[in-house]
Amino acid sequence: MKKTILFTVLIVAFGTLVFSQRKPNEKAAKNSEAPLALPNSVIPELMGAARTKRGTNLSTAELAVLEENKKFRSYLENSYIQLPLIENIRMTKDGNFHHVPTEVIGSSEIFGEIADRIKANPSLTREALRFYSACAVNEQLITSVRAVCTRNLKDWAKIARIDVSKVEIPDDIIRIADVLPHRN
């Protein structure tokens, strides 16, 4: 009897734990403005990779990698909401758009930091690709930044050999991304 109660308690505790961990993701998926919200077609391979990690016995090294991924994701989420929105640029620049807005070029620090981190630890590439794909399809962001995200998405996906062809990026963004300088 005691064993049955203990088993039931464990099952409930496990279920609560799983539910509490999944809930934020579901919320994020429902909220179209949430950082890293991805369109339905985005990178199935990434989703698959996330599932295989769950429920397996992880070594200390693997746990360290997961922890670094978590920190990186947190950095990406914070960075994502700092990317320049069209609405904000139009308000702050007061109609003077002759040159690239300072807020736009300022985001190069974000892209630079992401690139530095990926180069130091290629296992972070997958998280970065989620960031780039979310940015590339976000119509609220300034076009030049979306184009740079698209360029980075393509370049880093090629290096990591991940297929991102299903990310639905508009042609006008791809047209700009295709003429941008890029890493070999």
Binding site: V100, V104, I105, A115, T143, S144, V145, V148, V179
Partner: protein, 283 residues
């Protein structure tokens, strides 16, 4: 005593406002409204141009900038023909402007790069000069401008003055990299090539003016490009090559060049076409 100090103050103000030019060893004269720090940085930028060497130059690249090649020498000559004076934000072109002739009949001729008219008339070249020329053309008024102890006739879009400040420095402001780093220098030069192109063109396209954006981020503003060889497209092309030669540059510097190139490329409207870049002039 107060009177003497007052006179000294007035002398200093008048020297400053009339644009006392500082000597330097580059082809450009800097107005006193340009700070020493900005002047040093820009001189370094300009000296860098002659040593540039690009790989993978395409016919399309050359077609955009109307040059036979993209060697450092060719690029330096391109700027030399279009940048003679650099003034700071304190330089007020309207207060330095004089009317030479009212009801002036603008029937400009095309300027041959090697013509004597070009050598005789054009001693400076900047955006401000281009704007003054276009203003005069629109109002049938021929202007001159007081600059570097000269009363220069504004007879061509190439007679302008590059005005620096917000456009040239804040646009390349990236906190994590130094203003004298290669990346920053290349960003400023990208803007300078853009501004230089505004001194070309003729007829309705004199000064290569920007066109009104019908859609996109800047819809309703004159911040788009209808010329494949206009300022934004020249800038996008040159920044692409700058990215490729930015050896040992940080990822932030490379990203800044990439974003600037993306911004410039994003300004090109559908149906853009190549225009004659020869500048016009009036006698």
């Amino acid at each position: 005593m107060i009177g003497r100090w007052g006179l000294l103050f007035l002398a200093a103000v008048s020297l400053s406002s009339c644009g006392l030019f500082k000597k330097n060893n580059s082809w450009v004269a800097f107005d006193s409204s340009v700070s020493d720090n900005q002047k040093d940085l820009l001189q370094g930028d300009l000296q860098l141009v002659g040593s540039l060497n690009f790989a993978n130059v395409t016919y399309e690249d050359l077609d955009r900038i109307d040059l036979p090649d993209l060697s450092g020498n060719s690029l330096a000559r391109f700027l030399q023909a279009r940048v003679k004076f650099i003034v700071g934000e304190g330089f007020d072109a309207s207060s330095q402007r004089n009317v030479v002739a009212n009801y002036y009949n603008y029937s400009p001729s095309l300027m041959n790069e090697f013509s004597s008219a070009f050598d005789r008339v054009v001693t400076v070249m900047t955006n401000t000069g281009s704007a003054v020329y276009l203003d005069g053309k629109q109002s049938n008024t021929l202007y001159s401008i007081n600059i570097a102890d000269q009363n220069l006739i504004v007879a061509s879009p190439r007679v302008g003055i590059i005005k620096i400040g917000e456009g040239l420095f804040s646009n390349s402001r990236v906190n994590s990299i130094s203003p004298d780093s290669l990346g920053h220098r290349l960003l400023r030069l990208g803007t300078l090539f853009h501004e230089s192109r505004h001194s070309d063109g003729n007829g309705s396209n004199a000064g290569f003016p920007h066109t009104k954006c019908n859609s996109g981020d800047f819809a309703g503003y004159y911040a788009c490009e209808s010329n494949t060889n206009g300022p934004y497209n020249v800038e996008a092309m040159i920044l692409k090559h700058f990215y490729e030669i930015c050896y040992n540059c940080s990822e932030s510097e490379l990203s800044a060049l990439q974003i600037s190139a993306a911004d410039a490329a994003s300004r090109l409207v559908y149906g853009a076409r190549k225009r004659d870049s020869q500048p016009e002039y009036v006698r």
